[in-house]
Structures are given as structure tokens and as C-alpha cells.
Subunit: 135 residues, 2 copies
């Protein structure tokens, strides 16, 4: 897809367009189940692995590892190993991660603000499809 939704070029949107667009990857990361949650927790301060695991209920160690790797790969969080006994690894937001949280938070605020509209729309849709109207 094109970078800025409001500034789309004319003509067809090719597969390459949104495969190459940096926004596509970012959007998908935002859409995955745990990234934003983990980022939000880390916004309150650095945390260890099991600490994160316990803080976020329902998050398995497997997905925690995978998500942390992904976020680290994109430079949104840092991973610091303290070679002690017991071993300690700290995860923290990077500067990039903090800046990323701004537009994400804006999106979250939009959702909260427009919750009534979203609910109303769903209710109306259900009402319309219940009788197979689809007009």
C-alpha cells in the first residue's frame, strides 16, 4: 500500500506497493496479539522475561519469546543480558519504541473515543442482516 493513505497515487495498487511499503510490516506488527501489550508494559519501565510472563495474563513463554525477538529485530526494544546467577535479562523500550508508541496510542485513543459509534454500527449491522435485508 501507499505510505500516506491520503496521498495515494492514481492507478492500480500493485502487490509490490504494499509488499515494499514499510507501513505494511508496521501495521501487521500492530495487529498481532501481544506486541502492543508488551510495548505498553515496557512503557512503564524495564522488565525481565518471567516478570513479563507473569504481568501479562494469558501470554505463553513461547509467544513472549517470539514477540520479544520480533520487537527487538525491529529496534523497538532492547535486550540486555546481565551475566549473574541467576541470570537476568532486561527488556526495555528504545527511543524508537517510545516514538512508535505515540501513533499507536493515538489509534488506541481513537478506538476508545469512538467505541459508541463502533458498537452502534455493529448493532445496526446485526439488525440489518438478521432479516437478510442487505439493501
Amino acid at each position: 500500500m501507499s505510505p500516506a493513505a491520503t496521498a495515494l497515487p492514481p492507478g492500480p495498487i500493485t502487490v509490490d506497493d504494499h509488499q515494499n511499503c514499510p507501513a505494511t510490516g508496521v501495521l501487521r506488527r500492530v495487529g498481532d496479539k501481544w506486541s502492543v501489550v508488551i510495548l505498553s508494559v515496557l512503557a512503564r519501565g524495564a522488565h525481565g522475561f518471567n516478570e513479563l510472563d507473569r504481568t501479562v495474563e494469558g501470554l505463553s513463554r513461547r509467544m513472549l519469546t517470539r514477540t520479544l525477538r520480533g520487537l527487538e529485530e525491529e529496534g523497538l526494544i532492547s535486550r540486555t543480558v546481565h551475566p549473574s546467577v541467576p541470570p537476568r535479562v532486561d527488556y526495555a523500550l528504545t527511543e524508537l519504541g517510545r516514538s512508535f508508541l505515540e501513533p499507536v496510542t493515538a489509534l488506541g485513543l481513537w478506538a476508545v473515543t469512538h467505541r459508541p459509534d463502533l458498537d452502534a454500527a455493529r448493532t445496526h449491522f446485526d439488525g440489518a442482516t438478521r432479516g437478510d435485508v442487505r439493501l
Copy 2:
């Protein structure tokens, strides 16, 4: 998850927290493969079904239908049937859809702006893991 990432309450984040949070659903919609693309196309004006299908390369009719239904259900787009021959159905952004595009566009702009950082991070990560350093 909590509405505003920067205003998380203390204590563990329960499953209910992000199952009930309106942001979770919105985030997942943003993350799916075609929603934002379709929304972006519709930002340029109303379009018919096959028109959309042809405009967005790689998009199958099946996914187009599913995505349009989802967006309609959330009130982001409208669906208008013109009972003519041949039949014509117009999809267009609603007011809610237009307002939704603002934070999404902000996210897209963030991605474009920080592309160099994202690329640099990935390169650095690859370099670090290539030799199994993980320090």
C-alpha cells in the same frame, strides 16, 4: 490491553483487559492484510465491487467480500445497492471511516519516516545473530 498505552494502571494485565478493550479489535483490523488498503482506495472516492477487485492487485474476490463485510460491520464504510441492470453496489467511506484513517495515516507516516531506523535495526540484529552472539 489498556486504552492508552501511556496511562496503564498498575498491576497485572488480565485477559479480560484486552478482550474487552475496544482498541484490541481495532488494532487487529489494522493488522489484517487488506483493510487499510481498501480504506485507502475508498479515501479517493466511492467504488464498485469489481472496480475494487481490479484496483488492488492480488486481492481475491473472496477476501474482498470478507474485508468489506468487516469494515461495513464496524461502520467504517457504507454499502449502497443500486437496483439496476447490471446491478451496481457502491462502497464508500463513512464519516467514522474518514476519522479512522487519521490515526492510521499517522502510523503509516511514522513507518515511512522511521524506515531508515527500522532497516538499520534489522541489519544490526542480523549481524548479531549471525554469529549467535545474543549478548
